[in-house]
Symmetry: C2
Subunit: 145 residues, 2 copies
């Protein structure tokens, strides 16, 4: 399968612009944060997350993230109501972006979650490896239920 899709009518071919068009809104990266750092995988978990996304916006963002190949879905075989969302390789590759955004805000804004911030500051590589390993492990568990 092809690794990169031809981009449908972008404003420009600048890679930063591509990122901004895909991720530049007030919710997408928070959903990805919840999946990557908090292990959230269901609609209800995202909906109940602290920032309070509206249900129609959540449905829309999940649809777009799927369309962009950042997340995928599968049904939970033991509970037919539940849909399990998970990050694709393209999705977990956003870890460095999230990491730098956390560091920037922690350095220049009044924010919380200092435990996470210090962990990243102390050893960024270790933090990124850990995130990747959690992702790999969760995927393994999903394939062998």
């Amino acid at each position: 399968m092809p690794r990169k899709k031809a981009s449908p009518k972008r404003r420009s071919r600048c890679p930063l612009n591509a990122s901004v068009e895909i991720l530049g809104d007030r919710w997408s990266l928070l959903i990805i944060r919840d999946m990557m750092l908090r292990g959230f995988r269901t609609y209800k978990e995202f909906l109940d997350s602290y920032e309070g996304i509206a249900t129609n916006i959540l449905a829309d963002r999940l649809r777009k993230l799927i369309a962009h190949g950042i997340i995928t879905t599968q049904r939970n075989p033991s509970d037919g109501r539940k849909v399990i969302y998970s990050l694709t390789p393209k999705g977990i590759d956003l870890a460095p972006v999230l990491t730098e955004m956390v560091l920037w805000a922690a350095a220049h804004e009044d924010t919380g979650n200092q435990a996470l911030v210090r962990q990243i500051q102390q050893d960024k590589e270790k933090f990124l490896n850990a995130a990747w390993q959690r992702w790999a492990e969760a995927n393994r568990a999903l394939r062998q239920p």
Copy 2:
């Protein structure tokens, strides 16, 4: 002076959320890119940038970036019409964020500007240092006109 401002009514205290609230739209990071990588400093330059921002949106984003302490303005003494925008230290500190967003899109989307991308891939630190040095030099020139 205080390094961090108390944040007015954020959705949450998560540092990623702070970044998203400040930068999470379709234009802010492109303006910062134009300043950081292309050396743009005037309203007209931003307006004429390839993606085609609308003039009212540009004025609004510049106002917000100033309010967040990411850019500052000064009048051009040799041409009283021109306003010179430049990145603050908080603004140039966004370089790692932009860098990772460029790398992610270059890896997973069909994008251009491969010269820039390869430069970053080959030596990220060197690229970041160069960006910082260009910024320091431009600031020096501005103070001694």
